[in-house]
């Protein structure tokens, strides 16, 4: 089966984020999206540790340990950036002011339930960070993930088996096989990697609650 590369996925997500949007890119795969915004589109990036207007990575040797993103990687600022404290930053998130957040996931259900903080393994050390705040607070929640685990299991599920981050919060899912909207009837497939059929997608996803775009 052909698959989109990580950069192709990131490019697709970037294309779907409109001019002027305030966006939070989660840890991992979503951080790639930052490299794919068109030069003529102004998107303002939020980092939950208190920055609006995050810019690209600094040149080697110019990193500032006080200027990092939520993944604790050094960043820069763009013009118009602002700093604020943690309660203000999470008020911004919880209060529904971010237009889009893009999150990685372990599992997403056909109902838009998100599991992305904890595998539920007994010996795992749980860490939640800002995942629940982002998932429950942003106007639109995009998930970006590989469609299948390394073992070939679908990360799109009828029902999450991992502990939930937030119920019914995901609006759209970007995988290496397809782009899907979460609707009350199930997942509406709005794009597929060339050569992938809807039937094949349903089969690998182990669900029938998936349908093509009407009309």
């Amino acid at each position: 089966m052909t698959r989109w590369t990580r950069d192709e996925m990131a490019s697709r997500v970037a294309r779907d984020i409109p001019e002027g949007a305030y966006v939070n890119l989660g840890i991992g795969l979503p951080t790639l999206v930052a490299n794919h915004f068109s030069k003529d589109r102004e998107v303002i990036l939020h980092s939950e540790n208190g920055i609006l207007g995050v810019g690209p990575s600094p040149a080697v040797g110019t990193e500032d340990p006080d200027l990092i993103n939520a993944s604790k990687e050094p960043v820069t600022l763009v013009k118009g950036a602002a700093f604020f404290h943690h309660a203000d930053s999470f008020g911004m998130m919880r209060g529904g002011h971010l237009d889009v957040c893009v999150l990685g996931a372990f599992q997403v259900s056909v109902a838009g339930d998100l599991a992305n903080w904890h595998t539920g393994q007994l010996d795992a050390i749980p860490a939640v960070g800002g995942a629940m705040d982002l998932a429950s607070g942003a106007k639109q929640v995009f998930v970006m993930m590989e469609h299948l685990t390394r073992n070939g299991e679908s990360k799109i599920v009828e029902r999450c088996t991992y502990p939930l981050t937030c119920a019914a919060c995901v609006n759209r899912i970007y995988t290496d096989l397809a782009v899907m909207n979460v609707t009350s009837e199930g997942l509406e497939v709005i794009d597929m990697c060339s050569g992938v059929s809807l039937d094949e997608l349903k089969r690998v996803s182990g669900t029938s609650r998936m349908f093509g775009r009407a009309g």
Binding site: N49, F90, M132
Partner: protein
Amino acid sequence: MIGGFGTAGMPAELIDALIEQGATALTIISNNAGNAETGLAALLKAKRVRKIVCSFPRQSDSWVFDGLYRAGEIALELVPQGTLAERIRAAGAGIGAFFTPTGYGTQLAEGKETRIIDGRPHLLEFALPADVALIKAHRADRWGNLVYRKAARNFGPIMATAARCTIAQVSSIVDLGALDPETIVTPGIFVHRVVIAAGAATS
């Protein structure tokens, strides 16, 4: 209560002083649970901490915490980061408790009171005060007015309000009046001690 997000804004010199001072059986409220072997990780390693309240203990370099946790030698209260920040702010602002949508329907909501407000389910969360807050700021004046540096601001301003004794380490102390009243982030009313830690300036 210890400020910082990772090492940005972590008051390393104050933590070293706390280790030297000897207090033990501490409950620590901080976003993370220490990095590598210094700062908060060193305090954990010295077995001074009974319990940690944080949002994100697991990091690539949190082996000190990981070991203590797996050995059952430290208790963990895991709180979503925004709820942690809001509980700290509530303690500083005299708000006893609040209803937040974050975490509803998750494992972290177990045992918590819930309520539907405006059609949306919320969890009841309580204020989280501390006896002492150790924070790092950039500059102070003699009244304890503080300004911060870039994203090292993070938990500093809210922790300063939520402790009975707030101690700030700063890079420099300037004359009273040298900080612009429009740009002071933490007014001195919240700060009880200021310590210059020159080596702590991160750049």
